[in-house]
Amino acid sequence: MSSRGLVYLIPIAVIAIFWAMAVWEKRRGLDDPSRKGFVQQNGILLSTFFVLAVAFWTLFLVVLPYMYMVQESFHPSLWPKDRGGPKDVLTLEHYKYFIYGLQTGTEASYNVTHLYAFWKTLLISLCVTFANFCLCYPLAYYLAQSAGPQKLRLLLIALIVPFWVNEILRAFAFRVLLSSNGLINTALINMGLIDTSFDFLRADIGLYLGLSYAYLLIMVFPLYNGIEALDKNQIEAARDLGASWWRIHKDVVMPFAKPGIASGCTMVFMLAAGSLAAPQFLGGPNTLWFTSIVYDFFFQAFNWSRGSAYAFILLLACIGFVLLVLRVFKVSLGEIAR
């Protein structure tokens, strides 16, 4: 059996295992008999719809494509006529390529360009996440604790409406602002602050701004939710006991909003590391974004296997990193979903 067949078998096996577990539980009488079954509770029509919808979602939109990509990444890139033939064997060549590149000589060499792009992508995403947090925390705190209902509505609209504009258009708007003879440079030169225009894009400032702005709402809303539930009296109690404003935030507000902070930060980090538009349009010439490499493998080099391997590496790195951060800050995955 080829490994491609496995892709289709594994989900079926997983379903079978869960089914067997349910049946076993029922036999053993482990489930609470007073509890109504899922079908009893929702009716036959609704429950069929729920099961089918969830099954379609998980199987066809999540599990199967990803499994296909994962197994594809362990195969060589072949012409269609060779697929399934003798050349179609399991291989780690794409993962090796990520680390070592093309091995031309006998000397060991590393795929410096790609490794560098990989680390830089993760590092910049981390910086963007941090910057975004610093930007959004005061805003979310103000929205949640200080703003009156009318001001709150106005500010939320002001935050949301710009996101009706297409992402690429927004990226270009930043280009217009930041380019060598753009608005900001012209203004700075006219004010006599600088002599020659400063290349914001080469310095990656455009990239930072674009990414931070793109995921602003993703950060603001979890933070807002987290802070909003905090009893105002707790803030006042801390102040009354003599805490300075930063201690109030450190001791009372942030611990309380920790799940919201973790949720916002992980989402922004994941999305930033996997973003394509902002780095394409706003990244400096020296900044190669990892997703751009993946994109090029798929659509320029038509090497889907290698593209899959790279995408998978990025995914694993992000998940690992996020889990590590959650562990460090003692937040459980369940808390994030609140």
Binding site: E236, A237, A238, R239, D240, G242, A243, F256
Partner: protein, 361 residues
């Protein structure tokens, strides 16, 4: 260390709404002082002003003789106990109690020692490791007190902290609070709408209505000698008989009421023609005809038997019935419903006060 608190003509406005008008009073060092009034009377606003969360629009707050203008809540020698206690749910009991010391940079060992002392004071020793959510209502209450006392405030401010407790626990906590106050010896300022709480615990009480301090006095004198119609109707039960002063006799005045001319003490020196309200407490009445100017007669609407006392409700000329208490020792049989009953009072126990707003129950 303890300090007195002085309000000097304090006015607090929110936009066009005036929450407190020209409050002037001095709370003595080490006193248990209560602000009593219906909700919305401005008592919490005064408390928040003393604690530093609000600034007076006019006037000054002085603590220990020092003007508090420009001194934030975190730098005042006061500690506030919130109505909902506002304990930190993510911290242990000990961390809650020690929080004020921690932000002041008190070293760990000293902090632990003081927290232990305080936990012993509130009778919760060895409970420091528990989370706040594991405590009962009364225990949380005591932790909130300990947390506030930890910073050694000169003045402790309490914003109806007992209102969330059930009746039994509330009565117990009244005694406890009073005991703690005596032991630590600092000034307590207590906010409540419950006159029972104010009367049992306080050295002195300020009765407030609509942003104005109506009277400042000890509980007994508030009850016996209310200064205004509002205080007379708010503190304890009272029967108001509105009317016009027709005649004054010595220190008594005669008021022409819907129930005829009635006599009472006239401490405010009202003159004939002044609009006035005569107040007679239910327990001042006795069944039977007395002097003509101190007897009313009306139909009995209802009678309630309450063990040691009974109450009769007579049909009044106003909206509310006239209440009279019939003591156990009274040898009168309880009147029947619908009967006509004459009740009289000792005129020296009745009070004639200038016409004013009554407390709505």
């Amino acid at each position: 260390m303890s300090a007195d608190v002085e309000l000097d003509n304090v006015t607090i406005r929110f936009g066009s709404f005036t929450a407190v008008k020209g409050a002037t009073l001095k709370i003595e060092n080490g006193e248990f002082f209560s602000f009593l009034g219906p909700s919305g009377c401005g008592k919490t606003t005064i408390l928040r002003t003393v604690s530093g969360f609000l600034d007076p629009s006019e006037g000054a707050v002085r603590i220990g003789g020092k003007d508090m203008a420009g001194i934030g809540a975190n730098r005042r020698p006061t500690a506030l106990i919130f109505q909902n206690l506002a304990l930190f749910p993510l911290m242990t009991v000990a961390d809650n109690v020690g929080y004020g010391l921690r932000v002041r940079g008190v070293p760990r060992e000293e902090r632990a020692r003081k927290v232990d002392d305080l936990l012993r004071l509130i009778a919760l020793p060895d409970q420091g490791g528990k989370l706040v959510s594991e405590l009962s209502g009364g225990q949380k209450q005591r932790v909130a007190i300990a947390r506030a006392l930890a910073v050694e405030p000169q003045v402790l401010l309490l914003d109806e902290p007992l209102s969330a407790l059930d009746l039994k626990l509330r009565q117990h906590m009244r005694n406890e609070l009073r005991n703690i106050q005596k032991r630590v010896g600092i000034t307590f300022i207590y906010i409540t709408h419950d006159q029972g709480e104010a009367l049992t615990m306080s050295d002195r009480i300020a009765v407030m209505d609509a942003g104005v301090i109506e009277q400042v006095a000890e509980g007994k004198s508030l009850y016996d000698n209310p200064a205004t119609a509002f205080v007379a109707s708010f503190v304890g039960e009272n029967n108001p008989f509105p009317g016009t002063v027709s005649r004054t006799v010595g220190d008594h005045a005669l008021v022409e009421t819907a129930h005829g001319p009635l006599r009472g003490r006239n401490p405010k020196g009202l003159k004939p023609g002044d609009k006035a309200i005569l107040f007679v407490r239910p327990e001042a009445f006795s069944v039977g005809v007395g002097t003509a100017e101190a007897t009313i007669s009306s139909t009995v609407e209802a009678v309630t038997f309450e063990g040691n006392t009974s109450h009769a409700y007579l049909k009044g000329k106003g909206a509310k019935p006239i209440t009279l208490t019939i003591g156990r020792q009274s040898d009168h049989a309880l009147p029947g419903q619908g009967a006509t009953l004459a009740a009289s009072y000792d005129p020296t126990k009745a009070l004639v006060l200038p016409h004013g707003r009554l407390a709505s129950e």
